[in-house]
Amino acid sequence: MASGKGILKFDWLTILLYAALVGIGWMNIYSASLSDSTSGFFDLSQIYTKQLFFIGLSVVLIVFILAIEAKFYERFSSIIYIVSLLSLLGLFVLGKNVNGATSWYALGNFSLQPSEFAKAATALALAKYVSDIQTNVKEFKHQLRTFIIIALPAILIIPQPDPGSALIYIAFIFPLYREGLHFVYLLFGFFAAALFVGTLAAGVIWVAIGVAVIAGIIFLKNRKRRPNITKYVIIVAACIGFAFSVNYIFNNVFEQRHRDRFNIVLGKETDSKGIGYNTNQSEIAIGSGGWTGKGWTQGTQTKGNFVPEQHTDYIFSTVGEEWGFVGSMVVVLLFVFLIVRILHLAERQKNQFSRVYGYGVASILFLHFFVNVGMVTGLFPTVGIPLPFFSYGGSGLWGFTILVFIFVRLDASNYINA
């Protein structure tokens, strides 16, 4: 139990950044969900009132999380992880279908989305396994087990279907790399992504020619060292095979809506009233903000509800329209500061469990921020994931709150007798 003196040992900078993001987030939800038929500020049917209620419950959650002993999280991480997996499994039986996705449990007027809590649970389980004295992430056997820990929740989330939330589990490659995973895994991932995008953008033939040419150049440069020619041939063949399989998967396995999203980002389609409508409207909203924006609750695009899902996944477009470049930069900087702060704290942890968990928190926050803002500003394809602390929704807010504050509690345990 944290003593009265111990409160001072919490990392107040992290808490302050969290509070700032939640506060600014709520102001934007208020603006985005403000309708002309306002019946009163404390009308619980209004989205912004509900979010305020969620924020209030978050404070209660925070008090509980910080009150519990830090050791609890390490000791019970496996159990938390298993409960989380069960809650995901239970959705197949008891789940509520909203907009075609069975991701929620209905609890009276409110719904809970277990996938939002699974991230924290997975981060705990991963930290627990990796920090085990017998685990060595350089060994293939342990790598496989780690991979299973990460992949299990993702596999359960994909068929909801919610591929966006599943995608986030890729983030756990960062703590693993920090703990000694070979760089090749990262490089391989990056190279695969580059080939993937290259194939879709330029076509199989050009990618094949490009790979062959690059391989040829490297081969000729290194020829004095008598490189093994069969090795080069195998790598080039593998790359081209991958490109062909990407082409096949894209055209035969992907659904049309996935193809459309990629094609828009790659500039192949510019149909503003069709598939790219969301991104287009979002860019218009952000772009119309100018230097200082149109002012809080003054956004014409926001008021007109031109951007779909604006209070959830597209909330950043409200920031861009109403607060302009200056306001958007404040939000971007707050996120960068928070992630950097958590990384900094993680590095100074005395035990490995806390460090791995801290890296997990930073990675999850980063990937959400990266994918969401990238999508809203039209840099990436549309992937439906929320912006932490900003997007409307109780489960999301609580999920991120738990994620962050368990780390705040772990961090404080370095100074408080746990």
Partner: protein, 622 residues
């Protein structure tokens, strides 16, 4: 190294987002416009158009509310179609057709079901309207003409077309604009300024309130009322006199240049171009290419001026000092000019001097004077150009600068014209080749407005204000400055008196002696102009035009008038009588020459106008 990877990626991401946001929000400004285009709707609040009054404050044109039945197709609920159709006075098939068209145009935006209901239908329908969801009545403002005359002066308003919108961004599709007459000339005064409201739209294009609480909205500004110089009583009387005749009457107040009446015949009731029947009526008027009711003969008709033009010849002769008032010139039944050609004259005593020459309209006298004017100079070219210089100072051969949008220049030839015609210098030409100009025939042509203006100048003995139709704008007594500037001619004022005397004698014992108006001293000049038309490639001569110009009283004149009656034969037959009646009506307010009045009111020239189109051979001047 392992500690730095994620940190670096986070920082790089921050930079990339900064760049992207800078590009979207600062660098590329096209998003601002896109945003305004799809989120803000502009609606206009149309002010009342200004009213139009005559010189005595009689209301000529006001506004009437008009009611359009509108529909928003998506709001339509099942209804008693038969009952609704019977109220709207359309068949069920028409109703379904209209509704389908509206739905194709837009299910969410309003379309017109029935345009411009009259007041009675509106009153009946407005009680029943609540029963029909999705339908409503839109109030608009149309012109309401209080008089049946002056259509050519007042003009009309119509919806703007694309060329107008491109030229003038004030107008939007569906706006009304003055298309003719004072409606066009004083469009910006009459229309006022429309108000603008910016409405915030949502993505379904529905209104969700004022944009930024209405800080950019402006209120409409009512159009200003104007008063015209037209005397409604005189105008109406003039139009009545011209029934079944073709031609124009222009009356000007000499002291001010104010146009007292501007009559063209045939004309039309201005109310024809308002409301549901507008386009049908307009098409009918537009395609009447024989009577040409839309053609303002007073301003646009270019006619040979005939004998009234002899006053010009006299004035120029006096100014050029090629004749004085005492010299008499003999007339032997006409004017002979080389190789047996002779320009005929009518019976009068001979020889005669200037005053009698005008009174008897002697062709020989004015041909002699004209020839001297031209031959005063070494070459006929210089002579003609000098002659034209004098006429230009009367505003002849060019636009007069009055404030109505239609008009013609008329024509006064110069030396270039004859050089071209006669292929100078290969062939030479002399004053005699242009001798018809002396008596207002030949190459000279004038509009009735120009004839009225030179009559005004004679009445004023040498000066004029530009004729104008605007008396004042709103309550402020201002008219454009160009109408308060005096213009002088090249003729010395002292030369006008003998011409005035000659015109007085025309009335006393000359060619218009039978048009006596008790108690009024009229100065006038008759004209009978030969004219030709080309019909199906055949040139044929028609009955002479009947022309009369006059002013009265002789001293301190109150009205100057030019009357032109197409194919009316001799000058005093129609034009003289009409001018006399107009003068009496204006100066006395009543008619004592009722014999003359009934002759004119009952007289018709329709048979004369039908002659060339009958296909049969016909006689003229009968």
């Amino acid at each position: 190294m392992r500690k730095l990877l994620l940190l670096s990626i986070v920082l790089i991401t921050g930079l990339v987002f900064t760049g992207r946001l800078f590009y979207l929000q600062i660098y590329d400004t096209s998003f601002q416009k896109l945003s305004e285009g799809n989120a803000v709707k502009v609606i206009y609040d149309y002010p009342q158009r200004g009213e139009v009054f005559d010189r005595n404050g009689k209301l000529l044109v006001t506004n009437q509310p008009s009611y359009d039945v509108m529909v928003i197709p998506k709001d339509v609920k099942p209804l008693d179609t038969l009952e609704f159709c019977s109220i709207l006075k359309i068949t069920k098939e028409e109703f379904i057709g209209i509704l389908n068209k509206a739905r194709v145009y837009s299910p969410r935006l309003p379309s017109v079901v029935i345009p411009q209901l009259n007041k009675a239908d509106y009153a009946y329908l407005s009680e029943k309207m609540h029963k029909y969801e999705g339908f409503y009545i839109q109030k608009r403002s149309l012109r309401d003409y209080q008089v049946k005359h002056s259509a050519n002066v007042l003009g009309y308003i119509a919806e703007v077309n694309n060329p107008i919108i491109e030229k003038n961004p004030y107008y939007q599709m569906g706006d009304l604009i003055g298309m003719q007459g004072v409606e066009k000339q004083y469009e910006e005064v009459l229309r006022g300024v429309k108000g603008v409201k910016y409405i915030q739209k949502d993505r379904f294009n529905r209104d969700i309130g004022a944009y930024k609480e209405g800080i950019f909205d402006t209120l409409p500004e009512r159009g200003k009322d104007i008063s015209l110089t037209i005397d409604a009583v005189l105008q109406e009387y003039g139009e009545a006199l011209m029934v079944n005749k073709r031609g124009g009457i222009v009356a000007i107040e000499p002291a001010t240049g104010e146009i007292l009446s501007l009559v063209t015949a045939p004309n039309y009731d201005p109310s024809l171009l308002v409301g549901r029947e507008r386009s049908k009526n307009f098409t009918k008027l537009w395609y009447d290419t024989i009577a040409k009711p839309l053609f303002d003969r007073g301003l646009q008709g270019e006619y040979p001026p005939g004998s009234p033009f002899k006053t010009m010849t006299a004035l120029i002769g006096l100014q050029e000092e090629v004749i004085d008032t005492k010299e008499s010139i003999s007339c032997h039944g006409g004017y002979s000019y080389g190789r047996g050609r002779k320009l005929g004259c009518h019976h009068h005593y001979s020889p005669l001097s200037m005053v009698d020459g005008i009174a008897n309209s002697c062709n020989a006298y004015f041909c002699t004077v004209y020839r001297r004017i031209i031959e005063k100079y070494p070459t006929p070219q210089e002579g003609i150009d000098n002659w034209k210089r004098h006429l230009s100072s009367f505003g002849l051969g060019n636009y007069l600068g009055y404030d109505l949008p239609s008009g013609r220049r008329g024509y006064i030839p110069n030396s270039d014209y004859y050089n071209r015609s006669y292929n100078f210098p290969t062939y030479k030409w002399f004053a005699t080749a242009t001798i018809s100009n002396a008596i207002g025939q030949g190459e000279v042509s004038l509009t009735p407005m120009q004839m009225a203006n030179f009559t005004t100048i004679i009445a004023n003995r040498g000066w004029y204000y530009k004729p104008h139709i605007i008396k004042n704008i709103s309550v402020v007594d201002t008219i454009p400055k160009i109408y308060t500037e005096k213009y002088n001619t090249t003729i010395d004022p002292r030369y006008f008196e003998p011409v005035v005397q000659g015109m007085f004698d025309v009335y006393n014992h000359g060619t218009a002696a039978h048009i006596q108006i008790p108690g009024i001293e009229v100065c006038g000049k008759t004209g009978t102009a030969e004219n030709f038309i080309r019909l199906n490639g055949k040139r044929m001569q028609l009955t002479d035009h009947s022309i009369f110009v006059a002013f009265a009283p002789k001293d301190n004149p109150k009205i100057a008038i030019a009357v032109f009656v197409e194919n009316g034969y001799w000058g005093s037959r129609w034009a003289g009588r009409i001018a006399g009646l107009m003068i009496e009506k204006y100066l006395k307010g009543e008619i004592t020459r009722t014999d003359m009045e009934s002759f004119v009111l009952n007289g018709s020239l329709e048979a004369e106008y039908a002659k060339p189109y009958s296909g049969a051979p016909f006689n003229i001047n009968k």
